[in-house]
Amino acid sequence: MTLSAFFQPNGRRLSSAGIVLLMAPFFMLIAFAFLYPLLSLLSLSVTEPTPGFGNYAKILDNPVYGKVLLRTLWIAVLVSALSLVLAFPVAMAMVSSKGPMALFITACVLLPFWSSVLVRTAAWAVLLQRNGIINSALQFLGITSEPIRLLYTQGAVVVAMTHVLMPFMVLPIYGALRNIPADYGRAASICGAGPFRSFWEVTFPLALPGVLGGVILVFLTALGYFITPALLGSPQEMMIATLISQQLREFLDWPFAAALVGVLTLFVTAITLLFSRVFRFDRMLGGQL
């Protein structure tokens, strides 16, 4: 991981005993409330009801579950793509504007961090309801003649998730764009590149690490997202998180729910490790306020 530059030790070194003593509470917390519960959950998935990979085979055998996995992937891809298309120009505007305008854009981007996911999901429930604003607008414009079902659809989930996750895309792209010297764009135009070419051959390639970081962050978060699909999605079109919840709480099939958690966690971890170099966790977290 690219944290070593961030955590550069300084000052007089502590004794080994001191270090162990100071770090002990952290390791105890993570061991007790994170590692052990997760590992025992994963072991449950391969030991119950019979030892082996029966629970995982069940995911593959039943087309219903396969569909849920594919739908989850598809929604995550869609949300990442939409977020990128919406976020990139905003990040560009954040870099190029100054004064009150820059402050306004930044405030808009950060506002979602300041209001809870539940509130924003409730807002979409209101907007999309049968007699909500969007249905009224559609009828007013003559696009539809009567209220159509917008809530509890896949579209509702995609739109609301994009709304919730898009800010996570803006920040890494903004971070990358901000570090591109303005001279580069000028140099490109002096060399005869038009604005379009200068964007595609200079700006975009240099912003790519930020783009990749943002896309992966949004994609991975979307994969395991629970609140929005649970409240706005249709029960017939579940995502993996809502399926996990159903298996755990309604069918009480803990080992199967554990296997689904296993698939999700291993997939997410693998992608993170694969792209660990583009993840600047310190920047993403440090730059949030």
Binding site: F6, N10, I244, L248, F281
Partner: protein, 270 residues
């Protein structure tokens, strides 16, 4: 280039449209808190503070709010203390243990919250921690820890470590040097990390959803149930309160950080 450049105008229009998309849902829901109707409609009809009264006057909502506040305060304290201890050790040469620390620090960000929620749901059932304050505080501290560590590490890496050395050379113990020299400098960042942990815990919906019992529900869990079953203007009313609290707390955290930065630039070596 002037602003009348058509390409730039187009880009601006696009950016405004996106900002509208970000703001509109929030702007639409907040005024509904003052609606006189018991269903949600826009524009809201009439003007009343009744829904705030309904929230503060309802013992179930009040119990859930108190419960969430207790959890959030304890999470903030736990996270601050543990994060300060371990980050300090890390920045004073933790060696191989430090590498393990960094790996485990990132893990709760990478692993989806639903996975941790399910794991803790089953684990806490076995250990009797279900819907106890302790259970929630442990879970929320795990999630908040990375954010606090990064905030504190940022402060520690810019503090002039020779100040602490000087104190120790003058005979102060390590603890005294930390408490009297380093801690006062990084305190705003520690508090800012704590505030962040508070908000993260207070707003946390997924783990709350799974850990909640029938009686001991957190505020986010109560909200979830209301949104799912019976959406009344009480939710916008809570949204107004929550947004207000979040903005207040996060502005406070930002001010604390700024204060910390100015403190550090005053130190002679920086």
């Amino acid at each position: 280039m002037t602003d009348l450049n058509p390409r730039k105008l187009l880009l601006n229009a696009y950016v405004y449209a996106v900002l509208f998309f970000i703001l509109a849902p929030i702007v639409v829901i907040l005024p509904m808190a003052f609606s006189e109707t018991d269903y949600l409609t826009f524009p809201p009809e009439g003007f009343t503070f009744d829904w705030f009264g309904a929230f503060f006057g309802n013992s179930r909502w009040m119990k859930a709010t108190t419960f969430s506040l207790q959890i959030a305060v304890l999470t903030a304290i736990t996270t601050c203390v543990i994060a300060t201890m371990s980050t300090y050790a890390l920045m004073r040469g933790a060696g191989r243990l430090g590498a393990l620390f960094q790996g485990l620090l990132i893990a709760p960000i990478v692993v989806p919250h639903i996975a941790l929620a399910v794991a803790l749901y089953l684990f806490f059932r076995q250990t009797g921690l279900s819907s106890t304050i302790t259970g929630y505080v442990l879970a929320h501290s795990v999630i908040a820890m990375p954010f606090a560590v990064f905030t504190i590490a940022a402060a520690l890496s810019s503090v002039d470590a020779t100040l602490e050395d000087a104190a120790m050379s003058c005979g102060a113990s390590r603890f005294a040097a930390f408490r009297l020299v380093t801690l006062p400098i990084i305190l705003p960042n520690v508090l800012s990390g704590g505030l962040f942990a508070f908000i993260l815990s207070f707003d946390e919906p997924v783990i709350s959803f799974f850990l909640a019992g029938i009686r001991d529900k957190t505020l986010p869990r109560m909200m979830f149930d209301d949104i799912e079953q019976n959406l009344t203007p009480i939710i916008p009313a809570i949204a107004v309160l929550l947004t207000g609290i979040s903005i207040f707390v996060l502005v406070a955290a930002a001010l604390l950080r700024r204060m910390a930065d100015s403190r550090r630039t005053v130190s002679p070596e920086a």
